[in-house]
Amino acid sequence: MNDADTIRPSFDPAVLYKALFLAVMATFVLVPLLATVIGGFKSLGELRVNPFGWPQQWEWSNYADILATKRYWQLLRNSLIISTLTVTLTLIVASMAAFTFAHVKFFGSSALLGYLTLGLLFPAATAVLPLFIKVRDLGLLDTYFGVALPQVAFSLAMSILLLRRFFKDLPHELLEAAQVDGCTYINFFRYVTLPLSRPILATVGTIAFVNSWNAYLLPLVMLNTDDLYPWPLGIMVYQGEYSSEWHLILAFITLTILPTVIIFIIAQKHIVAGLTAGAVKG
């Protein structure tokens, strides 16, 4: 051990460059975020002359006033309802389909799977006008389901691919043993596959949740009533109302992204794994 310490490598300028590079990038990422959070504590006048530094006077009321409104909580509640609907339905519908594709051999299986994965090729925006008309004709306009169902439909392709791969990789002997014991597919799915698949269900659920929680275009097209707006729509309305009172808008932004940031810090490993798994294994 002492030897290793004594044969120190001579000073490497590359290390310095790397550190400098990391510092520049960290500043680039952090400054807009910190300025937003801290800006919410300033008065409008101070924001104008001092957008970077600490506030001379901490205006806690900017935040407190927003937290005291019904509006803020309603936005979060709407977002939570829509996201929960989307995640629940995605997990149920996708895991059932993925199970069938993974374990049941039937005529046309690969053709149907190919059909479902067509959804990976184009964004929801391409067909958003006919989608609007369809949702309207179904009487779902201006309802939570009018947003959640199309979101589920568009998340199916990726979810089914991820789940199917995981189900297929479960030990094959399990299914054979279960079948010898006369276990039906449905019971096998319910009592063996699902309990063993918690990691992938968490991954798929995370992807669906983040997408739904942050979504803007579909709610924008499908919802007309302010009372139903999820927070990305609500914050745009708020910004329209307080157009240049930036201190309030910054406080509002901070409060709306706060849940995301907190959850990210708590569950960072799952979230990173989830969001990159969709890319890597898709």
Partner: protein, 315 residues
Amino acid sequence: MTLPGQAVDAGSIGPVKSRAWKIPLGDSGGNGKFTVLVLFLPPALMLFTLFVVLPIGEAAWYSGFNWNGFGRPANWVGFDNYRFVLETRAFWLALRNNGLIIAVSLLIQLPLALSLALILAERFRGAVALRMLFFLPYILAEIATGLIFSFVYDGDYGLVASIWRLFGAEAPHLLASTQTAMLAVLIVIVWKYFGFHMMLYIAALQGMDRNLVEAARIDGATRPQVLRYVVIPQLYPTIRLSVFFAIIGSLQLFDLVMPLTRGGPADSSNTMVTFLYNNGISRMRVGYGSAIGVILFVICVTFAFTYKRWFMRDE
């Protein structure tokens, strides 16, 4: 049609015998294969068909009409909507902007992400924290990101403006000028998405075979040589994937642009989807908007198939 138990997994080496004698027993439905097919597949197929496939087909149909969305489409105009789209200057601006976004993604964002990944894939104090910091913008909503940067760029209160004033210059309104609006949007795109690509590369680097690197070092390869001839080639599949995501992502960019510029001023920062929104959806011009959607669809699908065929054949 379905014969339960009959050679369910013909390819597997499982106890075929045990299944063979189960057929005569034929406990109505056997292992429930038929039930599974009838219960488990239809929800996914119906949702997908109803909300994804049919709308695309209907977009192609509606694009032949001049229609405001009410009643039945009756005013058939053939390919006129496509002609109108292609004759709009703003459409070509939007297409050019999507091209710009792709260029910036490939030439700036991905190299940036790759170099950061090469540094942060190694273990040292703070590496994990920095990874998380760089990934953070990716999980923020695009709407929130757009609003944050409309503050950063604001000519009166923004960070950029105050830096300008520090040097005694007149603060620019970056988002309000046709010259700078798109540039401002491009910077936000890099800020938001480089961390995602960095994470893809880090995941690939950590799953990489270290033995090859060590072997190369023992054989006397220098660091740049190892990077150039050993590490990067192993990353090719991930790079191809990340290029694919950058391009598809740019084609569907919408949320981020809306709070920043709404595609303006004078259509200078429209993407394909904001152009579709501003000209089709917000005015309920269903035929015209559907034509834009179909064009975007054709671009996406053509790209995806070509790219898969040319670059991702082995995956």
